[in-house]
Structure formats: structure tokens, C-alpha cells
């Protein structure tokens, strides 16, 4: 005898609306089904109705946390379409921008994860140290959250020399506290009791379900766009791709915390290696007919923008593939076999960004019922 427990659309463990149908047998979870589509905003369509320069700002608003990577992925695709080459200094500014965002996003996630397992003190401390990253974003790019250093054809603002010492101090603080947090998370017995061996995603499952980013790297999938398809200045910077083998929630915590240390190191190298020079190249108003893909390693995994231009100043089609969307299917093997008390932390462990994941729902106008489009139907539609 099994029961269906609905998690969401409104649930205390979820920050944003989604609907997870969990099938349980007593305390044990035997099946999981997902229903997305509560915060669909039609951004892909809206992007095709705006000039590139305006669409750039809209792309940033896809996600409140990874807006720098969204603008960078959009810019990367659009620059390839238009054939614009970004100046050297701007490439380094983009690296610093992206890595500061990764640091604050990972610390934000770690705080939420600590909250899900009831460790409020750790939650508060993570968010205290996240302030260092946010302050630096404000200092360098003008805003705490919706800040970006990228612009079409280069960087939006230059990094001033007088701000560098402050940035280096903040990095030292972040490095020190992150090392301490890694110690805490791998030695505190209550944290281990709640995280170790929970929500395991094996390497095989991670590959089959196309998991991305830290979720996949915690399962031992050694893949990182920054190294495997370098953009900005990542090909000139040395860094390690952090992987863990266990694939449980603890591994996902440790991967993200160790990535913060790598990010700190990347920013330090970028500061040292940053050349002088112009920060922006001219971006044409109209873009000739072309198509391109821009891939970026967002804090949650691989983010992909596909842009097709048609000779006007507006793109003809933009397609966004966010990392959270790629990670949702891996929820299933992580939850099945576990207990109900594990649901909040396991769902949180993929760092889901709900507004990023929402896509179109096909609803029959006559009956009002939503339905799933099969692969064959999609094939037929294409013809």
C-alpha cells in the first residue's frame, strides 16, 4: 500500500513553487514525480522581441543569483553570432565577475542547506561571510545582487586599481572562513548524521540523467565548462576541477565549499594577470544571419544559450538551457529508497533554481487539462 505525499506547490521546505509528488510506503520513498511550470515567464519569447542591447538586461533577470553568468552566456552567444572579439582586459573582468558570483551563490546555498538540517547557527555564519562577496560585487560592479561586469562586446565597468587591495583582503577572509567551514562540515557529528550517505547519486546515474555542475562533480563526473570549453580568460588561468566520489549530500556540500577556495585562487590569478587596455569593442546594431551557442559554467552547472539572428537588431530565436533544469531528473534516484525526513535536504542539495527551470505546459483549452508531449509528437512538429 503506497501513499502520495504532495510536496508543494507551497511547502515550507521550498523557497519557490514547484510540485513534487512523492510516493511513500510507510516512511520509505518508493517513487517520485515532478510537475514544473508554476513560474513560467516567457523570457525566451520576450528576448526575440527586443534588440540585443535590451535583451542583455532581460537575460540577466532570468535568475536572481546567477545573473552574471546568464548575461555572460547570452553575451558569449551573441558575440559569436555577430563575430565580435572581446578585448583582453574585459575577459579578465568577466572571470572576476563570474567567480565572485560563484562564491556568493555557493555560500548562499550552503546556508540554505544548513537551515534545512536545522543548523541555524551555521546558516547565519555562512550568510555572514557571503557578505564579503556581495560587498566586493557592490564595490567593483555597483550592486550587491544584480551586478554584472559583462556587456555586449566587452565589460560594463573597469576594475579600478584602488579597489584591488580591498578585494584581496576580502578574498583572504573568504578563504580563511571557507577552510573552517570545510572542517566543520566534515567533522561535526550531527552534520554528518544528516548528510553522509543520504541522497546518493552514483556516477552512472549522474551520466545517464545528464546531471550538471556540482551535482555531477560530487558524483565523480569530471566535467567543467571552464576547463573543457574555456571562455573569457579561463584558458590562461590554472585551476583544479573539484570532484568527490561519494555522490551523497555531504559530497555536494564539500564540492561546493572546495569550489569556493578554487574561485578565490582564480580571482587572485586574474588580478595578477589582468592586462591594461580597452574594455569594450564596438557591437554592431544589426547582426547578420547566423546562429551560435554560448556555454558558461554557472554556479549550478552548465548554462547554455542558443541564439539565431536574422539580419535585424533582434534575435530570431533564443533558447536557454539552465543547469537546474538539467539537474531535476537526478532528484528521483536521490530520493527513492530514502525517508520523508530527507526530502528537504535532498531536494535542496541540487541547489534548485525554480524560476530557471520552468518551461511551457501544454494545456488543452477545451478540457483545461495539462498533458505531456511525447518525443514522437515533437519529432512530427519539427517536420
Amino acid at each position: 500500500m503506497t501513499f502520495i505525499i504532495p510536496i508543494g506547490p507551497q511547502h515550507p521546505a521550498l523557497e519557490e513553487p514547484t510540485h513534487i509528488r512523492v510516493e511513500v510506503k510507510g516512511e520509505e520513498i518508493v517513487g517520485v514525480d515532478l510537475r514544473l511550470g508554476y513560474v513560467h515567464r516567457g523570457i525566451e519569447k520576450a528576448l526575440t522581441e527586443r534588440p540585443y542591447a535590451h535583451g542583455f538586461y532581460l537575460a540577466q533577470r532570468v535568475c536572481g543569483i546567477c545573473n552574471a553568468t546568464h548575461s555572460l552566456a547570452f553575451t558569449r552567444a551573441v558575440e559569436s553570432v555577430a563575430g565580435v572579439e572581446c578585448p583582453d582586459r574585459a575577459r579578465y573582468i568577466r572571470v572576476i565577475d563570474g567567480e565572485l558570483e560563484r562564491i556568493h551563490s555557493h555560500l548562499l546555498w550552503a546556508g540554505i542547506a544548513a537551515h534545512e538540517i536545522g543548523f541555524t547557527t551555521l546558516f547565519m555564519l555562512f550568510w555572514r561571510d557571503r557578505e564579503h562577496a556581495l560587498d566586493m560585487r557592490e564595490l567593483l560592479f555597483g550592486q550587491r545582487i544584480y551586478a554584472t561586469g559583462t556587456y555586449l562586446g566587452g565589460a560594463r565597468v573597469d576594475i579600478e586599481q584602488k579597489h584591488i587591495p580591498q578585494l584581496i583582503r576580502a578574498l583572504a577572509e573568504l578563504e580563511k572562513s571557507t577552510k573552517h567551514y570545510i572542517d566543520v562540515c566534515t567533522s561535526d557529528r550531527t552534520v554528518i548524521a544528516r548528510c553522509a550517505g543520504i541522497g546518493v547519486l552514483t556516477k552512472k546515474e549522474a551520466r545517464e540523467l545528464c546531471a550538471a555542475g556540482p551535482t555531477a562533480r560530487a558524483s565523480g563526473v569530471d566535467f567543467d565548462i571552464r576547463r573543457d570549453d574555456p571562455y573569457a580568460a579561463y584558458d590562461e588561468i590554472r585551476f583544479d576541477v573539484v570532484t568527490e566520489r561519494n555522490g551523497d549530500v555531504l559530497a555536494k556540500v564539500v564540492v561546493r565549499l572546495r569550489e569556493i577556495l578554487e574561485s578565490v585562487e582564480i580571482i587572485r590569478q586574474a588580478i595578477d594577470a589582468m592586462p591594461k587596455g580597452p574594455i569594450r569593442a564596438k557591437f554592431p546594431e544589426n547582426v547578420l544571419e547566423n546562429e551560435a551557442v554560448g556555454r558558461v559554467e554557472a554556479p549550478r552547472g552548465e548554462l547554455m544559450y542558443y541564439v539565431r539572428s536574422n539580419g535585424t537588431n533582434k534575435p530570431e530565436r533564443v533558447r536557454i538551457r539552465t543547469p537546474s533544469y538539467a539537474n531535476w531528473p537526478s532528484i528521483r534516484p536521490m530520493l527513492v529508497g530514502g525517508t520523508i525526513a530527507e526530502i528537504p535536504i535532498v531536494v535542496a542539495s541540487i541547489d534548485p533554481c525554480f524560476s530557471c527551470t520552468d518551461r511551457v505546459t501544454i494545456v488543452d483549452a477545451k478540457t483545461g487539462k495539462a498533458r505531456i508531449v511525447t518525443k514522437d509528437e515533437l519529432r512530427r512538429l519539427r517536420k
Partner: protein, 317 residues
């Protein structure tokens, strides 16, 4: 007549409703302030709990239709009343409590469980899945911590010559020193402090009201004055559980004379209670919440074993 007035005074003022509520709310306020500081926040002022409860009393009394039953409405008062009864049974100012019975300790252990039972009933009566889940977890947790708590208390009673009267336990400690410093009873003292953490639903044992999993457990559907009474009852419980531990292990109320000034026993008693509240606040800020099965396993192994060792040592040695 005088005796009746004395009882009325004891019930309503000292050490009854007024005193216990004031101390409980103040302890909770201090607890929240300590929590704030440990979490690198400023934290609310220490009288915040008074303001919160006062505000709740001013709110409209809303009861969801599904929850509107005698049990749901009566439970806050029952819980509050049981805890006031415990306060009257405790030797707070001198070794002699306001009320005495044949076996104080048994009555106190019994009365201390009434708030827990009340919460379970409230959860089941609230007609809310979070309340039901919270109650189910509470039942399991009750069986976990209660075993260690009772065995630790029994070890003390055995040490005091199988006396179940609190005044004789206090008198024993006045002669032989605190129970917590008797080698045989040190494990029991540790066990009862851990069990108290479970009894007070504090991290790592706040499982029945885990807010990220089941909102507020049995309290989810409560609001307004009923929630205010439950909040006061919880704050008094914080004080009362600390007080029971002080009476059993830390000497109870001892009057002092410092520099010719007579300091009544209640002052020292409150300071000791405060120490236990601070310890509990620190523990709740340095741990994550366990799962209910992990908590039960933990309670039935570590603290229960410690308490049993103490009982064994007291009885054999």
C-alpha cells in the same frame, strides 16, 4: 484563613503563575539573546518574549474549522496548569515546597509529561498533516528521552536512600554536597542534561517541530491567545526542567549570608537554573537537527546507558 491566603498567594504570585511566568519568559529572552550573539546577530532585547506574548494575547482568537474541538481549545490551559503544579511541588525558596505529597518525584515526572501529551493531542486534533506528523514524531521522541530522564532521576533517589521526596533530596545534598559531584552520579547528570534537551524540543532534538520539514508541528494551527498560553507554558517548562535538574543534582535552594546580608535560597536557585538554560542554549546552537530514528537510537544508547551506569553504581557500590 491565613493558610488559605498563603496557598492563593503561592499559586498566583510566588512561586506560582506570576513568578514562574516572569522567570520563564526572561530565561527565554536571554536564551534568544545568546542565540543571536552565537549566530553573529544582535538578537532581540531580553524582554522580547514578554512583548511577543503580550502581542499574541491582543490578537483575535482564530481557530480553523477542522481543528475546532474541545481537545484543541483546552490543551493550552491543561499544559499551563500542569507546569504551574510542578512549580508548586518544587523546593524553590527553601527545602520545603508549597505542596508536598507522598512521592513528589513520581508526581513531578508524571506532571512534566502532561505538556508533551497535550502537544500530541493538539497535533492530532488540529486536523493538519503537519500537526499529525509532528505528533507522531513527538510520541517517538517522548519514549526516547523519558527513559534516560527517569533512570537518572531514580539514581538520585537511590543515592538519597530511596527517598522520593524532593525536600529530603535537598537536605541530603546540604549535608553531603551536590549530587552532580558524587562520582557515581556524574554520568546521570550528563544523561539528564541531554534528556532535558530532548524534553524541551531543542536542537538537535527539535524534531517534532522541525520548521523546515513540518512547519511548526503540533503548534501549526494555533494562533492568538491560545498560542500565547502555549508559549508561556513552554517558557515555564524551560524554567521548570532546569529547576528539576537543579533540585536533583545541583543542591536546590541554599540560602547564603554574604557580608552579613541574608540572601534567600531562591536567588542561588535561579542562578543555577540560569546556568543550565545557558548550557542548553549553547548546545542548541552548535548542532544540526537529527532525524527521528537517529534521535531515538541516540537516546536509547548513550544517555540511557550513562543513567543506568549511575543507577548501578549507586545501588551496588
Amino acid at each position: 484563613m491565613i493558610e488559605t491566603l498563603g496557598y492563593i498567594f503561592a499559586y498566583f504570585v510566588f512561586p506560582g503563575i506570576l513568578f514562574a511566568s516572569a522567570v520563564g519568559l526572561l530565561f527565554m529572552g536571554i536564551d534568544r539573546k545568546i542565540t543571536g550573539h552565537m549566530q553573529h546577530r544582535i538578537g532581540p532585547p531580553i524582554w522580547q518574549e514578554f512583548l511577543d506574548v503580550g502581542k499574541l494575547f491582543c490578537k483575535e482568537d482564530v481557530t480553523p474549522a477542522a481543528a475546532n474541538s474541545f481537545v484543541f481549545n483546552f490543551v493550552p490551559l491543561l499544559s499551563f496548569g500542569a507546569l504551574i503544579a510542578v512549580v508548586l511541588l518544587l523546593p524553590i525558596n527553601s527545602a520545603q515546597p508549597v505542596l508536598t505529597s507522598v512521592a513528589d518525584l513520581i508526581v513531578i515526572i508524571y506532571l512534566l509529561n502532561i505538556p508533551a501529551v497535550c502537544m500530541m493531542l493538539a497535533g492530532y486534533a488540529s486536523g493538519c498533516p503537519f500537526g499529525t506528523a509532528g505528533s507522531a514524531r513527538y510520541v517517538v521522541q517522548l519514549f526516547g528521552y523519558e527513559l534516560a530522564f527517569v533512570i537518572a532521576a531514580l539514581a538520585v533517589a537511590a543515592k538519597a536512600g530511596w527517598s522520593l521526596s524532593l525536600s529530603s533530596i535537598v537536605a541530603y545534598q546540604a549535608q553531603n554536597g551536590w549530587m552532580a559531584f558524587q562520582v557515581a552520579l556524574i554520568p546521570a547528570a550528563i544523561a539528564i542534561l541531554i534528556a532535558a534537551q530532548g524534553k524541551l524540543l531543542r536542537v538537535p532534538f527539535d524534531i517534532p517541530e522541525a520548521e523546515s520539514e513540518i512547519v511548526h508541528g503540533p503548534l501549526t494551527e494555533y494562533s492568538g491567545p491560545k498560542l500565547a498560553i502555549l508559549r508561556i507554558a513552554y517558557d515555564i517548562e524551560l524554567f521548570v526542567v532546569a529547576a528539576v535538574i537543579v533540585v536533583l543534582f545541583f543542591g536546590g535552594p541554599v540560602p547564603h549570608t554574604i557580608g552579613g546580608v541574608y540572601i534567600p535560597g531562591v536567588v542561588g536557585f535561579l542562578i543555577k537554573c540560569f546556568g543550565i538554560v545557558v548550557l542548553s542554549a549553547v548546545i542548541r546552537n552548535i548542532a544540526a537537527r537529527l532525524r527521528i530514528d537517529q534521535a531515538l537510537k541516540f537516546f536509547w544508547t548513550f544517555p540511557t546507558l550513562l543513567a543506568a551506569i549511575s543507577l548501578f553504581l549507586v545501588m551496588v557500590v
